[in-house]
Structures are given as structure tokens and as C-alpha cells.
């Protein structure tokens, strides 16, 4: 075990996974909320665009999206996010993860909207709130509370999906594993158990926490 830590940057890989998770979570929450608002909006064109976004990104493998964000955006289109190669790949990885999970955040939020009784929206309209106002004051606050569990599930999926960015060579947990597999195959079982424990420790608290939060913040009806 100790040779594993001497030979490979285990903690660095785990820290990279956490960084990817947190950053992509923030960005995908923002993008997902915007897409969800578009899907709920009274403007047909925006609704169509929101629906298309979800259909396209939910049905494309994350591997392909991450691959394309580096190869397509950087190598082909020449968009550079950092002069440093590893930082560049990291940022494109965050973009790929965010864009993909935003589709799921959008669907989670819509399922949160589904938990709101009709009367809430009707009451908002009948006291003369506009769409924007009722969204801001009535619908979204309740939708976020109702969507905590599905949002938590998306966050867990995101944490696990950060492993996919090994495809573009970001040095996170899966990268560590394939590195060990190449250079020190006898350590593979150790590193697998270690990584598995890391992910269990990372994801199970998220599930417990969101479960607790969703009960605590549930809208009393």
C-alpha cells in the first residue's frame, strides 16, 4: 500500500475529482436552471430550444461530449482556456461535465415543479403576478425544495461521472487507476479498493444529506 502512495499521486487524483465535482456542479446548476426556465416559459421558441437542449445532451454519451469539448473546441476551433496544457484540459472537462449534467438538472427541476399544486400558480396569476414574478417568488423556491432529492441524485451521478474525463487525460481517479494498471499492475486491487472507498465516502453522505434536507425543507402543505 505504501508503495502505492510513494509511486503515485493518490491524494492529488482524489482532490482533482472533488474539484471537478464542485465546479461542474455549480455550472450545471446555473445552466440547468436557465434551461428549465426556458422550458417553462410562455415563449414557444424558447420552450423548443430548451427541449432540444435536453434531448440532445441527455441522449449523447458523456464520453463523446467530453471528447468533443477538448478535440472539437480546442484542437479544431482553436479556443484556448489556458496556455498550460493540463489546466486547459481541466477547464474543458468542467465544461463538458457541466453541459451534460445541466440537462439532468433541468429535468430534476421540472420534476420539482411537478410537486407544486396547481393552486399555487393560479393564485399567483390571480393576484396579478407576471410570469417572471410568479417564477421568482412562487414557483422556483418551491421547485428547488421539491427537487432536492433528484438534484442530489444528479450530484451523485456527477461525482461518479467525473471519472469519464480520463478520456482527455485529466489526472483524476480513473486516470490514476489506468496509470497503476500500466505501471504497477500488482497494485491494481489496492488502488481499486481505495478508489471505491473514496467514492462510497464521497457519495453516500450526499445521499444522506439531500435526503435529510429534502425532509427538512419540504414545503408544508
Amino acid at each position: 500500500m505504501s508503495t502505492l502512495f510513494d509511486q503515485f499521486d493518490v491524494w492529488g487524483a482524489f482532490w482533482m475529482t472533488i474539484k471537478l465535482t464542485v465546479l461542474a456542479a455549480v455550472f450545471s446548476l446555473v445552466i440547468g436552471t436557465v434551461v428549465a426556465i426556458m422550458r417553462l416559459s410562455p415563449v414557444p421558441v424558447l420552450r423548443f430550444l430548451g427541449t432540444s437542449y435536453v434531448n440532445v445532451f441527455r441522449n449523447t454519451p458523456l464520453t463523446l461530449i467530453v471528447f468533443f469539448s477538448l478535440i472539437g473546441l480546442w484542437q479544431t476551433l482553436g479556443i484556448e482556456l489556458s496556455a498550460q496544457l493540463s489546466v486547459n484540459a481541466f477547464r474543458f472537462a468542467v465544461i463538458g461535465l457541466s453541459v451534460y449534467h445541466a440537462a439532468f438538472v433541468c429535468e430534476a427541476l421540472r420534476s420539482g415543479v411537478n410537486t407544486i399544486p396547481l393552486g399555487q400558480a393560479e393564485a399567483a396569476r390571480s393576484i396579478g403576478l407576471t410570469f417572471g414574478q410568479s417564477l421568482r417568488e412562487i414557483i422556483l423556491p418551491q421547485a428547488f425544495r421539491g427537487a432536492i432529492t433528484p438534484l442530489g441524485n444528479t450530484l451523485i451521478a456527477l461525482a461518479k461521472n467525473t471519472t469519464v474525463v480520463v478520456t482527455i487525460g485529466v489526472a483524476e481517479t480513473a486516470y490514476l487507476m489506468s496509470k497503476v494498471n500500466e505501471d504497477a499492475a500488482d497494485q491494481l486491487t489496492n488502488v481499486f479498493i481505495l478508489s471505491a472507498v473514496f467514492f462510497v465516502v464521497l457519495t453516500i453522505p450526499i445521499g444522506l444529506l439531500t435526503g435529510r434536507l429534502s425532509k427538512k425543507l419540504a414545503v408544508k402543505r
Binding site: 434531448n55 464520453t63 468533443f68 482553436g78 411537478n114 410568479s134 461518479k160
Partner: protein, 300 residues
């Protein structure tokens, strides 16, 4: 219920405003598309040499179709294994034997928490080390192993929640006509639960199909891997990626639609166990988002 409850029917002024906003949105998208198109043009991505191969049979026959075949094969094998294993796990998790329940719970929670890709890389390494499968079959075996373990635990949970959502009278009626606990589960509860959860199970197929792309990292000859190989031959990586993306989207979109269709049929027959908020159309967000499709959220 459509999203219409969130806003009033637009009057003449609002209609103009909506059209304006819609136009603006379209303009923005058009600008982005044009920008990308312009960049592509600059890089020569529209050169006919890059797109011509798709009109010829060679790239399809030697790369993309074998890749697609690999993808579909891995997905099909995995879903069958995962279905069987998931059913067994569900039986174990609902059995009256306590140790069995514990073991199944630990297995399910573990494989749900560990990323599929790590399982693939690990099993690949193990198969190499212990020389388990013939060389050529190893990547496929690794992909199937990873997908099976993860999806079996998801399917187990889907079935379990389906059984949980059945009215308790079903089980009680079974017991009262003299069936044993496990007979009631097998002959009364499971058939209903599986029928009712069919849409979720079909949605899970989408997840499996998408996750086969992870096989790229263990050198499995699936669509992305094959496409990457093809592009090194024709030096047209971006067109290849776009074509592959379209293939994936078409297949997965069709599967998602199939899930929705099955759900509608089941709802008409009154065989659904989905939450009342989703089925009764009482929610605000439109009935197209049943809770079942949110299973797609588990996407790995």
C-alpha cells in the same frame, strides 16, 4: 396539463413580446451556430474530403458499422445479465432471511456508489493479470462486467420500489388465500411491479447504451473508438464525432419515446404505480416528465 398554467393566455401585446423574445432567442442561437460554422469553415471542416467518406461504403463497413455492432452487442449482453442479476438481488433484498438481505444490500449500495468506469478498468486489469478471457474478447468482457454490476443494482432498486408502491392489499390478499410470503412475492407482486416499472427499465436501456461509450477507455471497439480510428485514416475527426453523436441521439431518443409510449399504455390500462402527482397531471411542469423518466437522471 401543459405548462400553460404558469401564465395567462397571451393577449395581443404579450404575443408581440413573445414573438420578439422568440426571435431574439433564435437570433442568438443562429449567431452561435454561425460562429461555429464560420470557425469550422476557417479550419476547413466543411471540405468535401472530410465529409465525402460518409457517402462511400468503406468508412461504414470497416469502421462505423462494426463500432455500432460492438456498442449494441455490449449493451444487449449487459442488459440481459443485469436484468437477471438485478432480479436475483431484488429477491434477496426482499427475502425474509436477514443475512441474505444484508449481503444483497451491501452489494447493491457498493456497486451503485462506484463509478462504472473504475469497475471496467479494474476488471480489465484483472482479466489481463489472470488471463481470464482470450485477448480479443477482454475489452468486451470488461465493459460487460462494469455495466452489468452497476445496472443490476439499479434494476434491483427499480424493482424494489415498484413492489413498494403496490397497494399493500395485494400482498395481504395473496397471504390470505394461503400463499407463502415468497409465493406472494413471486406470483402476485413481482409481475405487477415489473410491468409497472417497464418504462423505467426501458429508460435504463438508454443509460446502458450510453455507458458502452466508456469502453473507449479499455480499448473496446465501440462506436467512439471505431470513429476515432476511422478519423485517423480520413483525418476528419470532427465530422466523425458529429455523425456518431447523431447516431447515438437517434437511437436513445427512440428508446426514450418507447418508454413514454409504454407508460401511456400502462396508464390507460390503469396498471401504473407511479406517483399520483405525475400521473394525474396535477403538477405544473407538464405530464411528459413522469418520475420514471427521471430514472434517466441516474445516467452514469
Amino acid at each position: 396539463m401543459s405548462a400553460g398554467v404558469l401564465f395567462d393566455a397571451p393577449g395581443p401585446k404579450a404575443k408581440v413580446r413573445h414573438r420578439l423574445l422568440g426571435g431574439l432567442g433564435l437570433l442568438l442561437i443562429a449567431a452561435i451556430v454561425a460562429l461555429i460554422g464560420w470557425k469550422f469553415q476557417q479550419q476547413g471542416q466543411f471540405a468535401s474530403a472530410k465529409w465525402k467518406p460518409f457517402t462511400q461504403s468503406e468508412i461504414w463497413n470497416s469502421y462505423l458499422l462494426p463500432g455500432l455492432q460492438g456498442t449494441l452487442k455490449a449493451a444487449a449482453i449487459s442488459i440481459v445479465f443485469a436484468g437477471v442479476l438485478g432480479g436475483l438481488l431484488a429477491l434477496a433484498r426482499m427475502s425474509s432471511v436477514r443475512p441474505l438481505r444484508w449481503v444483497a444490500s451491501v452489494i447493491v449500495e457498493f456497486f451503485r456508489a462506484v463509478p462504472v468506469l473504475l469497475m471496467m478498468i479494474f476488471s480489465f486489469g484483472m482479466y489481463v493479470q489472470y488471463n481470464v478471457f482470450p485477448d480479443a474478447q477482454r475489452p468486451l468482457a470488461a465493459v460487460v462486467t462494469g455495466l452489468t454490476l452497476y445496472n443490476a443494482s439499479v434494476i434491483c432498486e427499480v424493482i424494489r420500489s415498484g413492489v413498494d408502491q403496490l397497494p399493500s392489499g395485494q400482498r395481504e390478499a395473496g397471504l390470505s388465500v394461503g400463499l407463502s410470503e415468497s409465493q406472494a412475492l413471486r406470483t402476485i407482486l413481482l409481475p405487477q411491479a415489473i410491468t409497472a416499472m417497464l418504462p423505467s427499465l426501458v429508460s435504463q436501456l438508454v443509460v446502458v447504451l450510453k455507458d458502452t461509450a466508456l469502453g473507449y477507455n479499455v480499448l473496446f471497439n465501440e462506436l467512439l473508438y471505431a470513429g476515432n480510428n476511422a478519423s485517423s485514416n480520413y483525418s476528419n475527426l470532427v465530422p466523425v464525432i458529429l455523425v456518431i453523436a447523431v447516431i447515438y441521439i437517434v437511437i436513445n431518443y427512440a428508446l426514450t419515446k418507447l418508454a413514454v409510449w409504454i407508460e401511456r399504455r400502462l396508464a390507460r390500462r390503469g396498471r401504473t404505480v407511479a406517483g399520483p402527482d405525475a400521473m394525474a397531471g396535477g403538477g405544473l411542469g407538464g405530464s411528459a416528465t413522469g418520475p420514471d423518466l427521471s430514472k434517466n437522471t441516474q445516467a452514469a
